[in-house]
């Protein structure tokens, strides 16, 4: 039987784009289906940027330019069954729905996970109510793929900057870019207090790289897309795939079903709807799902494919703790590449955190990476103020933007079977398909972590010179939620993981260690759905590294290997 292509790939974000590059380079033909529009790059040679993303806060942050429009693609949310079918309809962790996916909105902070993140069940005591598991691969196996991911995306960083980093086989492809004033200020204070901030590895060019220019620090990075093509993710892999002549990218093509053959053990392709609502089928030898950890399980559930006991379960975010400092002078965090400094300290063993864990009845506590950031855009600032004279005074002095530094801790979220994505019984999207529904409550571990670390992060702000500090979390803690009306109860984290977890046991996981479905082995899940645990680091570099590994195995290429290098003391 003649197939349309070797592989049909659902989604054009970092996962799908990476797989497309590997497969097309290996000689495969691919069709990529993307439900959103194309605002990223011309699909005709030489595949230049379209120039449609811009330094425009209204368009990008308030008018759903990169999608998904929450009216067209509503999602629903509840904390648990006691709240009925849902308590919220609309935006639930909406990652961009567009060519380039979440890679467009990301500001490119690309840390690796550490060795322990792959072995949390073996290395640490169990926690009541969390289903901790080891990954079916370890850091040493993934390291060469991390190195390849950094090369493909184009990561700027300093290999010796983070004293806690896992071992590396070599340097970053580019040196770090310029330090942002605000981040240098809070980093110096953190160092004074015994923490270990370091220059963030970022998928943002510090020099010309791969035919794309160096970043010019415009400040419209996270959530915006790059108008000058200086962000490596996922422009680079998509362009590389297109240049092979074997990649057919179809925007406004909404995958509705993974099609199985009569045996029910093999996929034969994907059905999708075009911009006019007409149905089509793409037949392929392999199906690759890179739609993200929300849309991938939704597609599997619609199709009745994958281990039904587990698909959609173990949904994880990062539990975000925000510590804010208000300064007596301006910080101009709207100049620079979004975040230039990170620190890992809250993820590591820490005497005070260990004591707090014991007092809370937990065996241990793992927070997350801390981003040394600031606030940058005025509409966002303004809508958080009250109308009247206070508005104008506060906009002139700008304590909530130009004089505010923000620590964001991406706290590790423990996997719980009850946290899940499924299909809403009533609400539908603009195509008439059931909306995806999130059922999610954080574990006590995340809540106690936030309570412990937030005051410590506030102390760093005061050391840096902040005159006022306060903190908040997303999702909100019970003691905060009672104080203010929360219009959207879903976590604002865009780090969505775990809903098609991989493992060696076909009964308790969805995918095997090569990210293929246990029960339909020509379907590969390339995105963060496969993460068995969430770690306290941004997921993107790990998504890309895993996707390279899985795609190379699919194409029968030699596994990558690397040599451990001695660290420079």
């Amino acid at each position: 039987m003649v197939m349309d292509c070797d592989a049909v790939i659902v989604g054009t974000g970092p996962a799908g784009a990476t797989v497309a590059e590997v497969l097309t380079t290996a000689g495969w033909s691919v069709v990529m289906l993307e439900k959103g529009r194309n605002h990223l790059l011309s699909l005709d040679a030489p595949f230049e940027p379209l120039g449609e993303v811009s330094n425009d806060e209204l368009k990008l942050l308030f008018r759903h330019f990169l999608g998904p429009d929450p009216w067209l693609e509503p999602r629903t949310f509840r904390h648990d069954e006691t709240e009925g079918d849902r308590i919220h309809v609309g935006d639930v962790n909406n990652l961009p729905s567009t060519i380039g996916g979440g890679g467009i909105h990301a500001d490119g902070k690309l840390p690796r996970f550490r060795e322990i993140d792959f072995r949390i069940a073996s290395e640490l005591a169990p926690v009541d109510g969390a289903e901790l598991v080891d990954w079916p691969l370890d850091y040493d196996e993934l390291e060469p793929y991390y190195a390849e991911a950094e090369r493909v995306v184009g990561v700027a960083g300093d290999a010796d900057a983070n004293p806690f980093a896992a071992w590396r086989s070599g340097p970053y492809p580019m040196p770090p870019g310029p330090d942002m004033f605000c981040a240098a200020l809070t980093s110096d204070a953190a160092t004074q207090l015994g923490y270990h901030p370091y220059r963030a590895p970022t998928g943002v060019n510090s020099v010309e790289y791969d035919g794309r220019p160096a970043c010019n620090n415009c400040g419209f990075c996270g959530y915006f897309g790059c108008p000058i093509d200086a962000k490596g993710d996922p422009v680079a892999p998509l362009r590389h795939a297109l240049r092979t002549g074997r990649c057919d990218i179809r925007p406004e093509s909404y995958a509705t079903e993974v099609l199985l053959d009569s045996s029910g053990r093999k996929a034969r392709g994907v059905r999708y709807l075009d911009a006019d609502g007409n149905a089509h089928e793409v037949s392929a030898r392999h199906v690759v799902l890179g739609a993200g950890a929300f849309e991938t399980p939704r597609l599997l559930q619609r199709s009745g494919v994958g281990n039904a006991d587990v698909v959609g379960r173990f949904l994880m975010y990062h539990f975000q703790t925000f510590a804010m400092g208000i300064f007596p002078f301006r910080l101009h965090a709207h100049r620079g590449r979004s975040v230039t400094h990170l620190m890992d300290d809250p993820i590591l063993p820490d005497p005070a955190a260990d004591t707090a864990a014991r007092e809370a009845g937990l065996p241990w506590m793992r927070g997350g990476i801390v981003e040394h950031g600031g606030a940058s855009h005025p509409i966002t600032e303004a809508i958080h103020l009250s109308p009247g004279e206070d508005h104008t005074r506060l906009m002139l002095g700008s304590p909530m933007r130009d004089r505010m530094a923000v620590f964001t801790m991406q706290g590790e979220d423990l996997p719980q079977a009850t946290n899940r994505v499924d299909l809403d019984p009533h609400v539908t999207d603009a195509w008439g398909l059931p909306a995806g529904r999130v059922t999610y409550s954080p574990h006590r571990h995340e809540i106690e972590c936030a309570r412990h670390w937030a005051p410590r992060l506030e102390a760093v702000m005061r050391e840096a010179g902040a005159t006022h500090t306060f903190w908040a979390t997303s999702p909100a803690l019970p003691e905060h939620a009672a104080r203010r009306r929360i219009t959207n109860p879903s976590p604002i984290s865009r780090h969505v993981m775990g809903t098609a977890r991989m493992g060696n046991d076909a009964r308790t996981s969805v995918c095997d260690r090569w990210q293929r479905l246990h029960d339909v082995d020509n379907v590969l899940v390339a995105d963060s759905s496969v993460f068995p645990t969430g770690a306290g680091y941004g997921p993107t570099l790990t998504i890309v590294a895993l996707a390279i590994r899985a795609a190379r195995a699919l194409a029968d290429l030699e596994p990558l290997r690397s040599q451990r290098q001695a660290r420079v003391p």
Binding site: S54, L58, C218, E252, R330, G336, I383, G388, L396
Partner: protein, 188 residues
């Protein structure tokens, strides 16, 4: 000349915007920034082709490059459906009522402005504030969209003369010039 609001409605929106974002010190306030023009352009977005929803890119011309913000972008059929539903309401159309009826911004403004009274522009500021407080839902919509109008790129009709940005010491869009390493790392 407003494109969608009446002259009277436009004047009421401007007066109300000046109570929500009042002039103070270097800040010109909502009326002088053209918030009413911004809201009028949004409510009348589909009287233009392409509709005035998304300004173009990549550059405005203010920091170099060609001024492409003013070339508004085409919407897909679905995007048009979503934005018409928000602006015009669902009006009983099946395709707009998939998950329930929607009261559009046009109707919310007509009714909200009427509820503020024919003489809104002529009463004391304290009375204006009291009337806005008696219509909390409309006040919330008006405040959110006044914030957008005051501080969005001027191509959308507000932030007149860039004074919304200048008064708060914000540069706005800076591509393709960007910032130098010294501007990023330095204190001022």
């Amino acid at each position: 000349m407003p494109v969608w609001l009446t002259e009277h409605e436009h004047a009421v929106v401007a007066a109300a915007a000046d109570r929500l974002i009042p002039p103070y010190d270097a800040h010109p306030g909502g009326a002088a920034l053209g918030v009413a023009d911004f809201i009028d352009a949004l409510l009348g977005a589909f009287t233009f082709d392409p509709p005035r929803i998304w300004a173009g890119g990549p550059f405005s011309g203010r920091a170099g490059g060609d001024p492409s913000f003013e070339q508004f972008m085409d919407l897909s059929a679905l995007e048009e459906l979503a934005w018409r539903t928000r602006i015009e309401g669902s009006k009983g159309m099946v395709e707009r009522e998939r998950n329930g009826a929607v009261i559009g911004w046009q109707q919310q403004y007509h009714e909200g402005i009427a509820a503020l009274g024919r003489d809104f522009c002529d009463v004391t500021p304290d009375e204006q504030d009291a009337r806005l407080d008696r219509n909390p839902e409309f006040k919330a919509l008006l405040y959110a969209q006044s914030c957008e109008g005051a501080y969005a790129a001027p191509e959308y009709g507000g932030n007149r003369g860039l004074r919304g940005w200048a008064s708060i010491q914000y540069d706005g869009d800076v591509q393709p010039r960007g910032y130098t390493d010294e501007e990023v790392a330095g204190r001022d």
